[in-house]
Amino acid sequence: MNLQLAVGATALLALVAYALSGGADLGGGIWDLLASGPRKREQRALVEQAIGPIWEANHVWLILVVTVLFTGFPPAFAAISTTLFVPLTVLLVGIVLRGAAFTFRAYDEGGVAVERRWGLIFSMSSVLAPLMLGAIVGALSSGRLRLGPAGEPLGGSMAWLSWFSAATGLLATALFAFLAAVYLTVEARGELLEDFRRRAIAAGVATFLAAATAAGLSWRESPLVFEGLTARAWSLPLHAVTGMAAVGAFWALVTRRFVLARFLAAAQATLIVLGWGASQYPYLLVPDVTLASAAAPPRTLALLLGALGLGALTLIPSLWLLFRVFKRRARVADPHG
C-alpha cells in the first residue's frame, strides 16, 4: 500500500510541478493572446523572453506524469486514455501547435506578418491546452467515465464533457494565466510591470470565480470532490490555507511585494492541485479504478521509485542551475527580494 501511495504521490507532485512551470508557460501564451494597450509589443516580448529558455524543460513534467502513470498504474493509464480519448487528442494538437508555433515565431526569418501568424497560433493553442487539461482532470473525478466489459468506453466518447469539467477547464486556464501574470510581475519593469500587475489581479479574480463555480457544480456532478471540499477531516484546514495563500497573493500584489506574491500564488496553485488529489484519493478514475486496483506489482513500483529518486538527483540540481541562469537577474534587482 505504501509503495502505491508513494508512486501515486510522486505522480501528483510531478503534476504540481507541471502546473507551476509548464502551466505558467501556457499562461504566458494566454497573455500573448490578450496583449493589449500601448505596450502590446513589449508584453509579448516579455512573455517570449520569459519562457523561451525554459518551456521545453517545463514541458517534460507532463511526460513524466504520463510515464509514471503507465509504469506504476498501467490499467489506469489504459482506462484514462480510452475514456478521455477526445480531450487528450485535442490536448495533443494544442501541445504540438503551441510548441511548434512558439519556436517558429522566434526563429522564422520570414518577416512581421509571418511572425504575427505564428503568434496567433501559439497563443490560441496556449488557451486550448489548459482548457483540455483542466477538463480532463475534472472528468477524472466526475464518476462519468466507465469502461464496459470489453474495455470499451461506456457513455460514448463525449462522456467527459459536463458543466463540471467545463468549469475545471476554465479554472485551469484562469489559474495558469494568474500564475504567469504573477511570475511576470517579478520579471517586468516600469509600466510593463503595472500591466502585468493589473492582469494578475484580474486573473486572480477569474480563478476565484472559476473555483467557486467548479466547487458549486461538484455538489451535483462530482460528489467525491464535493465531499473532499467539505466533509473530510482535512477539508477545512486545507481550504483555510489555500484561501490564505490566495488572499495573501492578492495583498502582496496590491502592496507590490512581487516576490512574495509569486511564492503565494505558487502555493495557492500547489494546494489546489493537492486538494484535488486528496479528495480524489484513493481513486485514479472514479469510481472503478483505484490506486490499489491499478497498481503494478511491488517490484515494479519499488524499482520505479528508485529510478525516480535517481532521476531526481540529477534533475533537481540541473533545474536549479537552469532557473538560476535565466531567472536570477530579475530576483536580485527586485527591491523586495
Binding site: P53, I95, Y107
Partner: protein, 441 residues
Amino acid sequence: MTHLLAARWLFGMSLAFHIVFAAIGVAMPLLMVIAELRWRRTGEPAALELSRRWAKGVAVLFAVGAVSGTVISFELGLLWPRFMAFAGPIIGMPFSLEGFAFFAEAIFLGIFLYGRDRVSPRLHLASGILVAVAGAASAFFVTLANAWMNHPAGFQLLAGQAGEIDPVAAMFPAGWGEQVLHVLISSYAATAFAVAGIHAFHLRRTPGDPFHRTALATVLPVAMAAALLQPISGDLSARRIAVTQPVKLAALEGHFKTQRRAPLRVGGFPDVATGTTPGAIELPAGLSLLAFHDPDAEVRGLEDFPRERWPDPLKVHLAFEVMVALGSGLAALSLTAGVLWWRRRSLPTQPALLRALTWAAPAGFLALEAGWLVTEWGRQPFVVWGVLRTADAVTPVGGLEVPLVTFAVLYVFLALVTATVLRRMIRQTSAAGRSARGWSP
C-alpha cells in the same frame, strides 16, 4: 480502412515523423559541440559562427521533436491501451528514465542556446556536452523498450497475464546491445549526411566559402565514421536476429525454405503464394555466411514457422533491401571521400564529390526509416513478439479516421514549415556570412 489499420497508420505516421527529429536530437548536439570545440581550438571565426548557426537549427528541430515525442507518449495509451496495460509494469521503467534524459537534454539545451552570454565558457561547453550525452541516453532507453518488444523477457506468461515481473531483466533482453548500437549509429549517420549534403550544396554554389568549408570539414568525418561503422553493426544485428528472431530474418531475406548453404538474395519480390522470391540475384551460401559466419550453416526459412506468425515478407524484404542499399551507398561514398581526403591532405571539394554528397543528403534518413519499418513490420503480427498480437492491443475507441486525418494534416504542415524555416535560416546564413566577412579571395 479497418479500425486496426487506421490505428497502425496513425501511430506509424506519428513515429515516422518523430523519428527524424529524434535522430537529429541525438546527433545534432554532438555536431554542435564539435564545432564549438573546433572554434576554441583554432579560433576560426567560421567555426564560432557554425556553432551558433547549428545551435539555431537545433532549437527549431528540438522543439518539433519535443512536441512530436509528446504525441507518441500519449498515443501509446490512446491507440494501444491493452499493450500498455500489459507492458507498462514490465517495460515502463526505461520510458521513465528516458523522461529524465529528456529533462537533462531540454535543460542544458536551454542553457547552451540562450546562455552563451550568461554563463562561463566552461559551463557553456559542458552544457553542450551534456545535451549530446543526454540525447544518446534518450535513444538508449527508448531502444531498450523496442528491443523488449522484439524479444520479450523478464516475466512469465500465466493465463494471458504477466506474472513474476522482473523489470531489470526486461530492460536488457537478448539483442539490446546490437539494437541500441545500430540505432545510435544510424542517428549520427543520417543527421551528419543530411547536414553534409546541405553544406556541400552551398559549397558548390560558392566555392571556397570559409563558412561552408568549415562546416563540411566538421561534419564529414562524423558522417564517414558512422557510415563505415554501420555495416559492422548491421552484421552484429543480423547475426543476433538469426538466433533471437529467426522468422524476422527469414522474412527480411525473402528466405522461405530451411536449408544449409542458404543463398543471399539481393532484390526480388517475395511471393507468399509460391514460397519463392523471384527477381532476386542469389549469392550462393551468402546468407549462411552472413547470418552465422559459416557457409554450411542451416538458415531456417519461413516454412519452418506457422503461417499465422509470418510477417509480410514482401514489405519486410523490400524495406530491408532499401536500407542495405542506401547504407552500402553511404559507406562507399564515405570510403571515396576518405581516400580523396587522404590523398589531398585537405578537405576534398571536387565538384563530383560535392554533387554526390548533395544527392546523398536524404539517404541516411531514408535508410533509417526503412530500417525502422524492417523492425516493426518484421515483428508483425505481434506488438510484443509471440505474446501479444497487434490486433489484440488496439483501442476499442472508434472513429480513428478523424485523428488520423487531423494528424496527417498537422504533420504535413509541420514538415513543410520546418523545411521553410530552416531554408530561410540557411539562406540568411549564406547572405550574412558573405557580407559580414566581406571575404576577398
